[in-house]
Each structure stands twice: as C-alpha cells, then as structure tokens.
C-alpha cells in the first residue's frame, strides 16, 4: 500500500474534520492531494502531533479530530500513547503510517522493521480500539469503522517506504498555523468538558 493512495482513499472524509499530520511525506502528500484550512502540518517536533490532536480533542469535543502519525514519530512519544489512552477522547482517530523507516532522512530503518508492533503497544497502553491494515480496502474500512465507533482508535497502516520527490511545499508554516486557528475559531466556541481523570 502506498501512503499517497491511502490518503487519497479517505480524503473526502476529511472535509469537516480537524486534521493534524506529522512532517515529511505525510504533510507533502496531503498538500499535493489538496490543502484545506482545517489541515495542520506539524513540520517538526516529532512525536507531538498526537499530543496536539489530544489537546484539540479534549477542548473541542464537538469536533472530529484525525491525526496522521508515523512510526518514527510515535516511537519518539510512546508515553503519549498512555496519555491518549488515559483520556481516550471519543472524537479522535489516530492513524499511524508505518513504513518501517525514517524516510525523509534517508530511509534509516525504525524498530518496527525488526518487529516492534505499534498497534500492540497502543492496545497495551489502553487504546480501546486498534487495527493493523495492509491494503487500501482494509484501511478505508478501518477508518470508517473508527469514525463510526465513537471510540479512540489507533490504526496502523503498513505502507511502502516511498515518498514524494521533495518535502518543502509553498505553504509557509505560520500561514498554515494561523489559517488553521482561524478555521477552528470559525467553527464554534470552545466548550471544555468534564472528562475522566
């Protein structure tokens, strides 16, 4: 499965959702398919995309949040899986594209290439729903199930270690950040909610 094809296959589901991605191929490919003001690309701070998604999901329970993470990034913030699981926001779908490598810096293999199982770690952390998928059909089915389930879900999508020719796009980081904030403001007032401790 190619990550680009996987992104394309669920692109129409992202229209009204908060989308937060990691840096590198995911950001470049999603922008190549078509940037939207509700998409935010965290172009550094590896590991924190899922934490940002948690921050949005907890403070805006009326919104649906999708995080597109990667194996290299989540391996830098495995503790964050336990925090996600602890608060298990119903409005967060956490997709991890696992190409078993740090593609944007030359393809250095990550620990998932030697057997570390991200879905297994997410489940062990307490994420209520997890899946590992290897085909587009299975990915789309898992994504739609996750949205319908109203439960925190981590989907590990095994993808080829192939990316775009370049990673720099013409969307400036701060342009993206302020546009995204404006979109969030426009979609309604913040409604902090009570949640499990």
């Amino acid at each position: 499965m190619l990550r680009l094809d996987a992104l394309n296959s669920v692109y129409d589901r992202l229209a009204d959702r908060v989308v937060i991605t990691i840096m590198g191929a995911v950001a470049a490919e999603l922008q190549a398919i078509g940037h939207r003001p509700n998409f935010f690309y965290l172009q550094h701070a590896m590991g924190l995309a899922s934490s940002m998604g948690l921050g949005v999901a907890l403070t805006r329970p009326e919104l649906s949040v999708v995080v597109f993470d990667g194996d290299g990034s989540i391996l830098m913030n495995l503790g964050g899986l336990t925090t996600l699981a602890r608060y298990r926001p119903k409005n967060l779908v956490h997709v991890v594209f696992d190409n078993e490598s740090l593609l944007s810096v030359g393809g250095f293999p990550t620990a998932t290439s030697t057997g570390s199982d991200i879905a297994g770690m997410a489940a062990a952390a307490g994420v209520p729903r997890t899946a590992t998928v290897r085909t587009i059909d299975d990915f789309v089915a898992a994504f739609d199930d996750a949205l319908a389930s109203q439960q925190l879900t981590t989907i590990v999508a095994k993808v080829d270690a192939k990316g775009p020719a370049g990673f720099v796009t013409d969307l400036a980081l701060l342009e993206n950040r302020f546009e995204f904030q404006r979109w969030l403001r426009k979609t309604g007032a913040a409604q902090p909610t009570h949640h499990p401790r």
Binding site: V18, I20, F40, L42, Q43, H44, A45, G47, L48, A49, S50, S51, M52, G53, L54, G55, V56, A57, L58, T59, R60, L63, N77, G79, G80, T82, T83, R86, Y87, L173, L174, R177, F180, Q181, L184, R185, A189, A190, P192, T193, H194, H195, R197
Partner: protein
C-alpha cells in the same frame, strides 16, 4: 509535607482568573496541591502526562482550538521539554504559560535536585524565553496575569519560576537549629 496550600490556592485562583481552562501536569512534590485543585475543579481539563514534552503539544492544540492552558512541571521537566518548546511552540508561535517549580536553589536538601536549579535560568535565557520569579504570595496574581498577557501578545512561551519561599512553608535557614532541637544533647550547636 510542608508544601504551601495557601500559595498553591493563590496560584490556582490566578490561573482561573486569567481564564485558563486546561492544565497539563506531571506530579512533583511542590505541585501536588495545584494538581489536586485542578483535579477537583469540574471546569478544568487536567491532563496527566507521561513526560512533560507532551504538554507542549497538548497546549498547542488547546491554544489553536481556543482554550488557554498552563503547564505545571519541575525544572527537570522543562529541561526534558526543550525540543518541543523550540520546534513546536517557538516554530509555530504558540503562547505557552509554563509554571516551573524551581528546585535546586538555596535551601534544597534533596541531593538529586541540586543540578537542575543552576541551569534553569540559563536555558531559559538561551531559548530567549521571558521569565519571572514567583517567590511571594503578594505578586503571584499580577505576575501570572502579566506573563499570560505577554505570551499572547508575542505568541511565544513565557515561564514563571515557582520558588521555595513561595511553595515551601518550612522556616528557611533553620536546618542546623532544627537538627540541634531534635537532638538536645547532639554534637551540633546552633552556632556550629
């Protein structure tokens, strides 16, 4: 333990008065009452972390989504968060309010805390993060408010260092006399 409940309450009330709606925290001795106050407040979103750097991402998400937040951490937690502060909060111009317990300063008795105190201000300065000390109840509220004002006007992180004189109620400078009191026939005299 002699962590000041009164000072913790003043800090917590100041955060509430400023409209802070989310607090991320990793437990540390001086922060226990603050964390409990957040836990007991149904209007506060408390996020207990595995590591402090997560709090930078959570605060960034909360900020973009319209909620003011504060991070509660020890200075060692701040040191553990530096990459997130630089490559998320500073790169993306996120106003962060960091309340950092300033362990390892004068009066510190825990040997394992003594290295962090001496580097905290230097790291803050190297990162060009404006900071102020909270060392007396009288200025807590307005320094927190001013810090948050600067964080929002600059879209940058600011730090408030929670100091021993504010957070710890044990009389300062009396360690030797206390030891002497505890052992009236001991070898240590108050003047030793």
């Amino acid at each position: 333990m002699p962590v000041s409940v009164d000072s913790s309450r003043i800090i917590y009330d100041a955060l509430k008065d400023c409209g802070v709606g989310l607090v991320s925290a990793l437990p540390e001795t001086w922060l226990v009452h603050l964390i409990r106050m957040a836990e007991e407040d149904p209007a506060m979103v408390l996020v207990r972390l595995a590591k402090e750097e997560e709090g930078v991402g959570i605060s960034a998400g909360a900020h973009l989504a319209g909620t003011k937040s504060a991070m509660l951490m020890q200075n060692h937690g701040f040191l553990a968060s530096v990459n997130g502060i630089v490559s998320c909060a500073q790169l993306y111009r996120i106003p962060l309010l960091m309340l950092i317990s300033h362990r390892g300063e004068f009066g510190e008795r825990d040997p394992w805390q003594t290295e962090g105190g001496g580097v905290t201000e230097h790291v803050l300065q190297a990162l060009r993060i404006p900071f102020a000390y909270l060392d007396s109840p009288s200025h807590v509220a307005h320094r927190i408010r001013k810090g948050l004002t600067l964080a929002y006007s600059s879209n940058k992180p600011v730090a408030l260092l929670l100091c021993r004189d504010l957070m710890w109620e044990e009389p300062e400078g009396d360690a030797r006399r206390e030891q002497g009191d505890a052992k009236p026939s001991g070898r240590l005299s108050p003047q030793a």
